[in-house]
Structure formats: C-alpha cells, structure tokens
Amino acid sequence: MPADTANAYTDTDAGGRAQGRATVGTGTTADELIRFDRVTKRFGSNTVLDSLDFRVFPKKHVTLIGPSGSGKTTILRLLMTLLKPDEGTITVDGTPLSHEERNGKLVPAGEKHVREVRKNMGMVFQQFNLFPHMSVLRNITEAPVQVLGMSRDEAAERALELLDMVGLKDRSDTYPGRLSGGQQQRVAIARALAMRPKVLLLDEVTSALDPELVAGVLDLLRDIARTTDITMLCVTHEMSFARDISDCVMMFDEGKVIEFGHPEKMFGDPEQERTREFLSAVL
C-alpha cells in the first residue's frame, strides 16, 4: 500500500463537514480526479444518495461496500453519465460533469461536453454487456476506431495485446455468445481498457459469474491494479479482493458514507456499529 494513504483521511477542504469529507489520497484541489459535492440522487420518493461528498486522487483504488440499495452502483452510474444527479456537482479531473461554461455562464452540459469528460471513464458491468453481433476483437476495436479515430490495424494490434493480457488472445474471432461468463467479463475488461480511461468503474463485475469463474476475473483485476496507474472505483461483495487491491474502503448506508478508511482498519477494527454488522454478515 502506498505510504501516503495512511494519514490521508483528514479533510483539508474548507467546505468539509464535521465528519470529514471522504478523501482518498493527498494533494490539492487541482490534483483531484473525482469529486462529489453534495450530490443527491432520488428515484421517485426514494433518496438513494443523500448530499454525498467525497473525492479521490489519481491512481487510488477505492472499494465501495454496503448493503444493497445503499447507492454504491448509483455512484458509478452517475460518474459514467448513465444517470444525472438531482442536486450537487460531480467533477472529473477539474471539469464539472453536468455543467459547462458558455459565454461566461454556467449552463447544463451539452452532448459534446459530456463526451469530452466521459473520455476519462471506462466501465465494466455486472452483466458484461458485450455486443453480441460483433466478434471479440471487434468488440474491443470498435470504440477506439470510431471514437478515438485509431486506424483499424492499430486498434486491432492493441486489442490483441489486451486480449493477451486477459488470456484470450486465441478467441479474438469468436462471438461473445460462445464464451463463458468469465471469459466474457475478461473481454469486457479489455474493451474498457482499450479506451485508455483514467478511471475504471467496476460494477459488481463478478456477481453474475458462476463461483468457479470468479477467481480468474479477480486475479486479472488484481494484476491491473498492481501494474497500471489506473484509478479504480469498485463496487464488490468480494471482501478479500477489496482488502487486496484497495487504498480505501468506503462503507455506504442510506445514501451516505458512514465510514471510510484503509482496508486493514475497515475490516479489522471498524468504528461504526453498522459497518461491523454489515461485515459480519458478508465475511
């Protein structure tokens, strides 16, 4: 674990509240990669995120834990712009996600602005969401070619490197329907990485897998966490995985971060009763 994280959890932000803004990593506001300011999200009368504040500095690996319905997945979906917050601001690498400046005025973000900010993020889904009508290779090359303007050859070369990394180089011509769940998820990871995101959002990526396929996917993610600079936000129920890769674990309940800290502390000696209850139920 990086040494700087041990003392990193005090909020230096002027607007921070009594409990302290959940902060992962150290640095100035300018260095922040992800920042949530009083973000509220409701579905009907159900408040899923309640004035949430947190920030994450680059290269950190954050695991979000908590009972189902506590808003963990919503955070990832907000960052991926699959949802819009009802209140508050999300800032990615210094740029607000939901607003842009036009003629000196802050206006709701247009498609172009959103796509510019979205470049920073990649996401892996619980249900893989591979494109069934494209070969494995095409699944990985399509966006680099269409969005980043890469040539087909270059994109294919890079895709094969990524497939090699995820151990599926020999399946590049196969269609996703012919792969196991674990293989599909590894392709989905390669597909997300092909866009060179700064942040990788992992949404319960092993929950839809048969038990014997889980380890392969988690090992791959451990490798990626160890060998790359990518920032990870990870919603998972795999606590040993969370312990291995995380710089910080955030415990959510009822739309708020009720506790956060180094995994050793969180899993070994949590302060909140609610965290203890949750962990004893899942461990």
């Binding site: 969401n129 494109f131 269409q146 969005v147």
Partner: protein
C-alpha cells in the same frame, strides 16, 4: 362463355408484373417511413415523439383505399395537378403500411437490452453510432418476421388499386372474367398466383432473417433455404440454438 385465349393470359401476366411493381415500390416507401417514424417515436425530444405518434395514429386509423381516393381525387383540388393512379396507390399504401411498420421498428429497437445502450455510452460512442452500430444490428433480425407479415398484407392490399383503374392482377382478372364470362377458373388462378407470390416472399424473408441472425451473433448461417425438406420444416428459433451452444455458464 368462351375460352381464356393467349391474349387474355397475357393481360393476367401483365397484371402480375404491375402487382409486383406496386408491391415493391410501396414496400420501399413503407420501409423508409417505418424506420423514420419508428425511430422518431423513441427520440428523446418530446415534440419529435409527439409528431411521429400523431402520424402513426392517423395513418393507422385511416383506410388505405380511402386514402388512395383522397390522394387521387381530393389532393388535385389543392395542388392543381393530379397524381398518376399508380403513384397515388404507391403513396397511399406506403404511408399506411409505413405507419404499421413504425410500430415494428419501435418495438424491436426498444427491445434491445438497456445494457447495450449503456455499454455504448461507457465507450463514449456518440448517439448516432450507438444506434447504427449497436442497436439497429440487434433489432433488425427481430423486425423481419413482422415485416414479412406486413409485406404480404401489402401485396394483397395492392388489389385495391384495381378500383382506380390501375391494371394490376385483380384488374386483369376482372377484365378476363368480363371477356369470357367465366368466374371460377379466373379467380381460382388469381387466388393461387397471389399465394405463390406471398409464399416466395416469405421464403425470401426467412433467408434474410437467418442471415441477419447469424450476423447478430446468434449462430452460424444455415444453408439450403429452398430445399424441400426445409420448405415445410417447422421454424426453429436461432436464438434458442445460440443459447444452448453457449452452455450453462451464462446466467
């Protein structure tokens, strides 16, 4: 009562040709209308959805025959020039069946899982590319069987044009009947001709569907669409085959 002479057979043959032309042209227009309207009904802008919805309801709710008459007899009063009966027919059929078809397009596009759209967003594909490269290729195979139904409806609907004097198959049949005084052989032949055309269309659409499903990753293309054994074989869902082949690991 007299024989059906070679000249009369020729009238029927010409009628077949006109019917095929009408079907093809109307179907092309209907397909264009169906895609534009069907996609507009899923547009994120409310006004676009509303306009497309109005079109759909109006043209679904009007009789193609009356629409044809209206285009032929009423429209000239406003425009000052009259459409050829053939084109009035193509327009009326295309607009009507396009409205029905828009429901097919809308349904098939809406049935593509949400996760596919979301994966497209996560890869930062622009909205147009998400539709063109991800959603439509998956929706297309689902559209083909209902499109086939509409196509056959349309083929039979072309018989309406005979009342406006377009010399299609039904019009030819009436001529031959008047000339010979024989109803039974003429209408029996015509009945069969419509059936044969419809059947050929169905076979063609099935080949198209099989190819589309293969292209959508639902299994390899199958051969021999026209072999006698397959011609009457019960239809198998390619999707079921694909699901079986991917084994039990996908939940």
């Amino acid at each position: 009562m007299s024989e059906i002479t070679p000249g009369l057979w020729e009238i029927l043959l010409d009628g077949v040709w006109i019917t095929l032309q009408l079907t093809f042209l109307s179907a092309a227009l209907a397909a264009a209308v169906a895609f534009v309207t069907g996609l507009a009904r899923l547009n994120r802008l409310r006004i676009v959805r509303f306009a497309a919805g109005v079109y759909f309801e109006v043209f679904r709710g009007t009789s193609a025959l009356i629409l044809m008459f209206w285009l032929f007899f009423v429209l000239p009063l406003g425009l000052g020039w009259q459409l050829e009966p053939m084109w009035a027919a193509v327009l009326a059929l295309g607009l009507s069946y396009g409205a029905y078809g828009s429901e097919v397009v809308r349904g098939a596009v809406a049935a593509v899982p949400r996760g596919q759209h979301e994966a497209g967003v996560a890869l930062n594909l622009p909205p147009g590319q998400r539709l063109w490269r991800i959603v439509l290729p998956q929706a297309w195979p689902e559209m083909i069987p209902p499109f086939n139904n509409l196509l056959i409806e349309l083929l039979k609907g072309t018989a309406l044009v005979s009342v406006m004097g377009v010399s299609d198959l039904a019009f030819g049949a009436a001529l031959v009947r008047n000339a010979t005084g024989q109803s039974a052989p003429v209408y029996t032949v015509i009945l069969l001709v419509y059936f044969v055309i419809a059947f050929a269309m169905t076979r063609g659409m099935r080949v198209l569907e099989r190819r589309a499903r293969a292209g959508a990753g639902e299994g390899p293309p199958r051969r021999a669409a026209l072999s006698p054994r397959r011609l009457f074989a019960p239809r198998r869902r390619a999707a079921a085959a694909a699901a079986a082949s991917s084994g039990g690991e996908r939940r």
